[in-house]
């Protein structure tokens, strides 16, 4: 009897295990877990997922910092400063920044990700976009809504590809969700680089496809979502880059023997028609703004040109802005004031980064009357401080709005601030250049002011893109000066008249520098124009005006740095960890 019971027990136990009759013993019970199918079964969750696509596919934070490092989600900034500090626009005084590595020329494939750019964050965004694109059709939205939302994701995916392309050339195009098994990257993940031409085409085609379904505006609670103009804008910028000397040439920036590699870093030959494509695409943005958008225009509010220009960067909802991201409001981020504002004004802690605007760049600003300022200072000579004030005071309103130099007020009524370097001696007043960066940060008065929103596209750029492309294709001089003067008139600068292609090229590039200063344009412009290696741009002597306090204050010309440039730097290297996986071909010279 008892034996029988025990025998039963054993038989039951073994049978249970071997036959799997009670395998649910090891099954996970029902729970409230969300799986992929649950995401796209609900409108709310589908939308929430789209917001994550936005988050990971945009320059969400003001790009001065990539905060959480290895685990961060911030894409850019030259580590603790803006990338403008890594070209001739500016310099970060503190040596903790990523710009320092660029300026010293000691960055490489094994540490690039410390200094500016983490491609994996782009691909994280691309992954999210692809998941969305592949699954949106399962959602309960209407067909029109689906098409529009899918277009947003297609645009954002293209934007991330462009972000990679402008640094790396032809890149791996990822247009589907890559399956990742934990143990091994299965072969489909190891996608080789596409050629430069293919990458451009992918982005342009994405923009065209997205533009078909994107609206030109949203109800006000959704301001900031992707409009049709953004797709046109990205296309225009991509085509301008593609037509530029770095890529549109038979002569690569460093000698390349391997024809395959040659096609990865640019077009193998020059084609003037690329300028036409660029010009048309830029004009399409201007036309969309004027005729189709119903709202997009150059900002012309405020009575004073300085305030007007300044307003663009500190007002969160101007009609000039086609795409921006982030928050302008009430969060707290002490790093922002440390990295972005002058150490004398807002930030009170140690080791402020202190971004100074170089004399090299200050020279691009004309006097307000449209003539050039005289910069005849010699090294080793002390000049009266009043002359420093006078010279800077005479410059373009955009300089006044962008640079905080000694003797100015930080905010109206808060009192004059002096930046004498030698009188105080301590780091607080130490900066390189003629004055501190003020653009973007004018509104910041204490440590709890958050970064301003970051503008990805604003309309002014496309006047300048149009002028540049038209000039390069030797197009209509009237159109060229019209586009240029639209931008100049807005800040009260005198009109240009057409001279010659070469002269206009210099004027257009100068205007672009001034109008789009510190907005992450010039860093890439000096590359695509292939002038980064010129003396005083990303190479050689960088100058500032150093102030000395006392009873008779003076200033003197000071070369604060000799920067190092190597032509291989026209394109970034891929991270060595990616190269080591064997499917990515490294850019030349790295």
């Amino acid at each position: 009897m008892k034996q029988a019971i025990f025998n039963k027990l054993i038989v039951w136990s073994v049978a249970c295990l071997l036959l799997g009759s009670c395998n649910k013993y090891l099954e996970k019970p029902e729970s409230s877990d969300i799986k992929l199918e649950d995401v796209f079964a609900s409108k709310d969750r589908t939308e929430q997922f789209l917001w994550s696509v936005y988050r990971t596919c945009s320059i969400f934070e003001f790009p001065y910092y990539w905060a959480s490092g290895e685990n961060g989600y911030y894409h850019y900034g030259a580590t603790y400063t803006i990338v403008a500090a890594a070209d001739d626009e500016a310099d970060a005084y503190s040596n903790i920044t990523g710009a320092e590595a660029f300026n010293k020329g000691n960055w490489s494939s094994s540490d690039i990700y410390w200094y500016e750019f983490r491609s994996e964050f782009c691909y994280k965004g691309i992954r999210n976009a692809n998941i969305f694109i592949e699954n949106i059709d399962k959602s309960p939205f209407s067909d029109a809504e689906k098409a529009s939302m899918k277009a947003e994701a297609i645009f954002l995916r293209a934007l991330m590809h462009f972000d990679l392309m402008q640094r790396l050339g032809g890149i791996a195009i990822v247009d589907k969700v890559l399956k990742v098994s934990g143990a091994e990257d299965i072969p489909e993940v190891r996608i080789p680089r596409s050629t430069y031409a293919e990458t451009v085409n992918f982005i342009v085609n994405s923009c065209d496809e997205a533009a078909k379904s994107l609206p030109s505006s949203y109800e006000s609670k959704y301001r900031g979502r992707i409009v049709k103009g953004a797709a046109l804008a990205l296309k225009a910028r991509v085509l301008l880059y593609a037509a530029s000397p770095l890529f549109n040439t038979s002569q690569s920036y460093v000698p390349v023997g391997d024809p395959k590699l040659r096609e990865l870093i640019g077009y193998p030959s020059y084609d003037p028609n690329r300028w036409k494509l660029a010009a048309d695409a830029s004009k399409a943005v201007l036309d969309w703004a004027a005729n189709e958008s119903g709202w997009c225009e150059l900002y012309k509010g405020k009575s004073n040109a300085v305030d007007r220009y300044e307003e663009i960067f500190i007002n969160p909802s101007l009609n000039e802005i086609i795409l921006d991201a982030g928050l302008m409001g009430t969060s707290t981020n002490n790093y922002f004031v440390r990295f972005m504002t002058p150490g004398t004004v807002v930030y009170t802690g140690s080791d402020p980064v202190n971004i100074g605007v170089t004399l090299n760049f200050t020279k691009f600003y004309q006097k307000a009357d449209g003539t050039d300022q005289t910069w005849d200072e010699k090294e080793g000579v002390d000049y009266p401080y009043a002359q420093y004030r006078q010279k800077l005071k005479e410059l373009d309103p955009r300089f006044q709005a962008s640079v905080f130099y000694s003797g100015e007020e930080w905010a109206r009524g808060t009192g004059t601030v002096y930046h004498f370097y030698e009188q105080h001696g301590k780091l607080l007043d130490a900066y390189n250049g003629v004055g501190f960066l003020r653009k973007f940060v004018k509104g910041v008065s204490n440590a709890s002011n958050p970064p301003p929103k970051w503008i990805t596209f604003r309309l002014a750029e496309f006047y300048l893109n149009y002028a540049e492309a038209l000039n390069e294709m030797n197009g209509d001089g009237g159109q060229i000066t019209w586009a240029l003067n639209e931008v100049r008139r807005r800040v009260g600068m005198p009109d240009y008249t057409y001279t010659s292609q070469d002269d206009m090229r210099m004027k257009i590039r100068r205007e672009r520098g001034v109008e789009l200063a510190f907005e992450e344009h010039r860093y890439f412009d000096v590359r695509r124009w292939m002038i980064a290696g010129n003396e005083g741009v990303m190479k050689g002597g960088m100058y500032g005006l150093r102030l000395k306090g006392g009873t008779n204050p003076t200033y003197r010309l000071e070369k604060f740095e000799d920067r190092v440039w190597n032509d291989k730097m026209y394109l970034y290297p891929f991270r060595v960890s990616e190269i080591n996986l064997g499917y990515i071909q490294q850019n030349p010279g790295w």
């Binding site: 027990l9 729970s31 969300i34 929430q48 917001w51 993940v189 609670k221 909802s317």
Partner: protein
């Protein structure tokens, strides 16, 4: 250095590296042993060995298992059983984590670390897996065994790979009459060491110095400094040592047990009732609405063995305990931080009227937090039961049994808190009308009524069903034994919908030939709920062999060899600890941090993200363990010796593949893959020499364990310098900068590589530029010191008895370990924190730079100086006089007269002396932060009827 004594020298010699020393140690014992006699220390209680799911004879067992008896553990009076294990068992590392009553749960490693992930071991009490063994009393324990090699742990499947601590409780023995034992102990505990903090005068004086170093103006005037120096006005110039205000010198601990043991052929029983009371170090807590930290524990153990019929027997075990904890309603770590870091001149501890002081910036006056905030309490009810029935099946075949068992463990915990806020008074100094200083107290916050919070209920539950066959029979020279069983184990935590579940089909086969040659095979075919269908089950086998050499004819003439056994084992084990739950499924979640701003009103829209990347192939860690051992008894059984040599190759350790995987996949973190590898190996030796004869007896023994590991594959983020990789170093290896002194002056700074962490000044730490790039940054961090756990654990004991008096001494030590001095205690003046006398005496000034032992003082965060570096990472080797016991056994004829069988009285001490190499006056295990490590003096009585 703490104690310039001969013992210190011995301590540091022993703390020196490696195996050589271990051998020396043991040889030393052997040599000394010639003069020694032994009485008490039991390495092996009897000839049987507790093994996984059973018991084997010492001859049969080929596995690496060390064990200690409950009575041996009784010698250390500590409220936490785990603490008593330190140094007693080879292969075991026990690390103090602070002795706060009720919260003292030391961390335990077996054979060091094996994996870069989770080295948690498996704890088994009478066949049931538990979360802690702290609640057991030594008097209910027969033995604690450490199962170390594959032969010992393979039957636990994927749960046993990091080693198993097996606790077996006492059972009844056959006796003519019931045996009753009474144990009583009472002790007084005090910290081994408390940090010595600066007085107000030193604090203020040096704060000024630090400000000056920072280029800031002084905070304290000369008049104030003079006031602090003179200490005449405790309200104007307070000089509060918060530890003196809060702590009492000693805290009592007491435990009492009574046990009954007896039985006959039909039934045997063991019953123990125990009570433990452990009080904390906080003073003035006798009021109704406050509480010292304190712990009460009531234990019951009842084990019953009954022969129901001739062939049917049952074993029933019940273990229960009640744990009651009461403590002030402030986190212990925070409370100690405030006590240690609140500046002595902040405010007087109370106003002259006895009200609690405080300021807006420093509102948590420790005295107020202790006395005015009420208390919290926690009540745990824990019960374990096991019932096992065995039926002999001799009618089928001789030696065959079938058995079934049900085991369960249940813990219920709830809270009862009575808390409130309290008013505190800030002293405000003003100038009176006559220019005279005057002061008043500004009331901040309010006294509120006590509010009661109950609940916080927590419950967990484990149920195990077991059934199987076992067999044992002798055929002439062949001895055959074996068992096979199936077990289901489900662990449920209330509120968590997904229980932990395991199914295990396990078995053992033993074979002996001529009582000389023994072979054993064990296996587990087991499955865990945490893995994908199809990936849940694994097979874990181990083989072992033993050879009793002393029975061979060629050793028959070696009379000095009484017992000599060689053992060898090899097998495959698993470790599932550290696997994320249900990682084989891909989950998604709403993320409030991953949304976006839209709209002119900049509204926030939550995002929804893919959570940790699923890995459908995820599995447990796998290790091959090889073990060679020898057991010997020599010289008329006076010397017993056990030694083991092991090697382990572990693979399939989970690593986050995202750092090294293709970025294209777009997944930046949480891609877990079974790719890591760690190899480990080591040696363990235990020896005891004993001689029991005549009036004077001695014993002498020691245990030595060394375990070392190397990370073979770690899949790290690419690093700039080859020396930055953790791979090739042990797990837990410290990394940091190499401090090469202090900056002498500005020209020294100018001529040195640029240190990028913060602006440096003379007196700041100067680091070596490892890669000679002219910049000191994270790329100059190298492996420094050792790892954060010891590679060497050792203990040695000696005892002497003369007639009825005995004295036992036990020393415990660790070596090859580093600690990182960081946190508030070592970074003075940040947030006005007080400064250790160590830094007061040793800090750098231009005058003392030749002899400075601490950098210049600063009030800033100073990222430069507080980088992990060789300055802060220090040798943590230590040796403790863990135990001393002096006892007297009352003469048997005397005690018999009053009806007793035995009686003894004793006094004992724990942690009385500690020798270390830290050069800072803090305990080498707790580093002065948090509730301290304790030492104690106890007295007790043991009576048997």
């Amino acid at each position: 250095m703490k104690m310039k004594s001969g013992l210190y020298q011995a301590g540091s010699v022993i703390a020196m590296p490696r195996l050589r020393i271990g051998l020396l140690l043991c040889c030393g014992f052997l040599w000394n042993a010639a003069y020694a006699q032994s009485v008490q220390y039991d390495v092996n209680p009897d000839s049987s060995v507790r093994v996984a799911y059973g018991t084997l004879s010492k001859d049969q067992n080929n596995a690496a298992i060390s064990s200690v008896t409950g009575s041996e553990l009784k010698k250390t009076q500590t409220a936490t059983l785990t603490n008593a294990l330190a140094g007693k068992l080879t292969g075991l590392t026990v690390t103090n984590t602070g002795a706060a009553p009720g919260f003292d749960d030391p961390s335990v490693l077996i054979r060091g670390q094996h994996t870069s992930l989770n080295n948690g071991i498996l704890l088994i009490v009478d066949g049931i897996q538990v979360n802690s063994i702290s609640f057991l009393l030594p008097d209910e324990i027969e033995s604690v065994s450490v199962l170390k090699d594959a032969a010992a742990v393979a039957m636990y499947g994927a749960r046993g790979g990091n080693g198993v601590l097996l606790v077996t409780t006492k059972r009844g023995t056959i006796s003519d009459k019931p045996q009753i034992s009474l144990n009583m102990r009472y002790g007084m505990q005090s910290p081994t060491q408390l940090p010595k903090m600066a007085s107000s005068y030193d604090f203020a004086r040096l704060y000024n110095e630090a400000l000056q170093n920072d280029g800031l103006s002084a905070l304290y005037t000369d008049a104030q400094l003079e006031g602090y120096r003179q200490k005449k006005d405790p309200y104007r110039y307070p000089d509060v040592n918060w530890m003196d205000e809060i702590l009492r010198k000693q805290a009592p601990i007491q435990d009492y047990t009574v046990s009954f043991n007896g039985g006959n052929q039909t039934a045997k029983y063991f019953v123990m009732l125990g009570f433990l009371n452990n009080q904390g170090l906080y003073a003035h807590t006798d009021g109704e609405h406050n509480a010292n930290i304190g712990y009460n524990q009531l234990n019951l153990r009842a084990n019953l063995d009954v022969n129901l019929t001739k062939t049917l027997s049952a074993q029933v075990g019940i273990g229960g305990n009640i744990q009651d904890r009461k403590f002030p309603p402030v986190a212990t770590a925070t409370f100690w931080q405030n006590m240690l870091s609140y500046a002595p001149n902040l405010y007087p501890a109370t106003t002259p009227d006895g009200n609690i002081t405080g300021t807006a910036a420093f509102p948590s006056n420790p005295l107020g937090d202790l006395l005015k905030m009420g208390y919290q309490s926690r009540h745990d009810r824990n019960i374990q039961m096991n019932i096992r029935v065995t039926q002999q099946l001799d009618f089928m075949t001789k030696g065959l049994n079938v058995f079934g068992a049900v085991l369960f463990d249940n813990l219920l915990q709830n809270r009862y808190d009575k808390t409130r806020t309290y008013a505190y008074y800030e002293p405000i100094w003003t100038k009176g009308a006559s220019g005279q200083d005057s002061m008043y107290y500004l009331q901040r916050s309010l006294d509120t009524d006590l509010s009661v919070v109950t609940g916080g209920d927590y419950e967990n539950n484990r149920i195990i069903f077991q059934g199987g066959l076992d067999y044992g029979r002798r055929f002439g020279e062949h001895e055959l034994g074996g068992m096979v069983f199936f077990q289901q184990d489900k662990y449920t935590v209330l509120g968590n919908a997904s229980p932990f579940a395991m199914q295990n089909l396990a078995g053992r086969l033993t074979y002996g030939y001529k009582d000389k040659y023994f072979a054993e095979g064990v296996f587990s075919y087991s499955g865990l709920e945490n893995y994908a269908p199809g990936k849940r089950f694994g097979f874990f086998p181990a083989l072992s062999a033993g050879w009793l050499m002393h029975k061979e004819s060629f050793l028959q003439n070696a009379a000095w060899i009484n017992y000599l056994k060689l053992r060898a084992s090899a097998g495959s084990v698993g470790n599932d600890k550290g696997s994320p739950r249900f990682n084989y499924n891909q989950y998604w979640g709403v993320a409030s941090s991953q949304g976006y701003y839209f709209g002119t009103g900049q509204s926030w829209y939550n995002g929804l993200v893919q959570l940790a990347m699923a890995n459908p192939d995820i599995t447990w860690e796998r290790a091959m363990i090889y073990n060679l051992g020898v057991d010997a008894t020599l010289f008329n059984s006076r010397l017993s010796l056990t030694a083991d040599l092991f090697k382990e190759n572990r693979k399939d350790i989970l690593v986050d593949r995202s750092a090294t995987g293709s970025a294209l996949a777009g997944y930046t973190s949480g891609r877990m893959a079974n790719l890591g590898k760690v190899n480990s190996g080591g040696v363990e030796i235990a020896a005891t020499y004993r001689k029991d004869a005549g009036e004077v007896n001695y014993y002498l023994g020691g245990q030595f364990s060394y375990a070392h590991n190397i990370i073979k594959e770690s899949w790290e983020t690419p690093k700039k310098e080859a020396y930055s990789y953790r791979q090739g170093h042990p797990t837990g290896q410290y990394f940091g900068l190499e401090a090469i002194g202090y900056f002498k002056d500005e020209s020294d700074i100018a001529s040195s590589p640029l240190q990028t962490f913060s602006i440096v000044a003379p007196g700041d730490l100067k680091y070596k530029d490892q890669n000679n790039d002219g910049i000191i940054d994270v790329n100059d961090q190298i492996a420094i010191g050792k790892q954060n756990y010891p590679e060497i654990n050792y203990g040695f004991q000696t005892g002497v008895s003369y007639k009825n008096i005995y004295l036992d001494l036990f020393f415990q030590g660790v070596a090859d370990k580093s600690v990182y001095l960081s946190g508030y205690l070592f970074q003075p003046f940040i947030n006005n924190a007080n400064i250790l006398n160590w830094a007061v005496d040793g800090h750098w000034t231009p005058q003392t730079q030749a002899t400075a032992t601490y950098p210049r003082l600063t009030t800033q965060a100073n990222p430069n100086n507080y980088q992990a570096s060789t300055f802060w990472v220090r040798n943590a080797d230590f040796l403790r006089l863990r135990n001393v016991e002096l006892g007297y056994r009352l003469p048997v004829n005397l005690v018999k007269r009053v009806g007793m069988e035995q009686a003894k009285i004793f006094v004992s001490g724990m942690n009385l002396v500690t020798w270390d190499n830290l050069a800072v006056d803090v305990d080498p295990e707790m580093l002065g932060q948090g509730y301290p490590v304790l030492k104690s003096w106890s007295a007790g009585i043991m009576v048997k009827f």
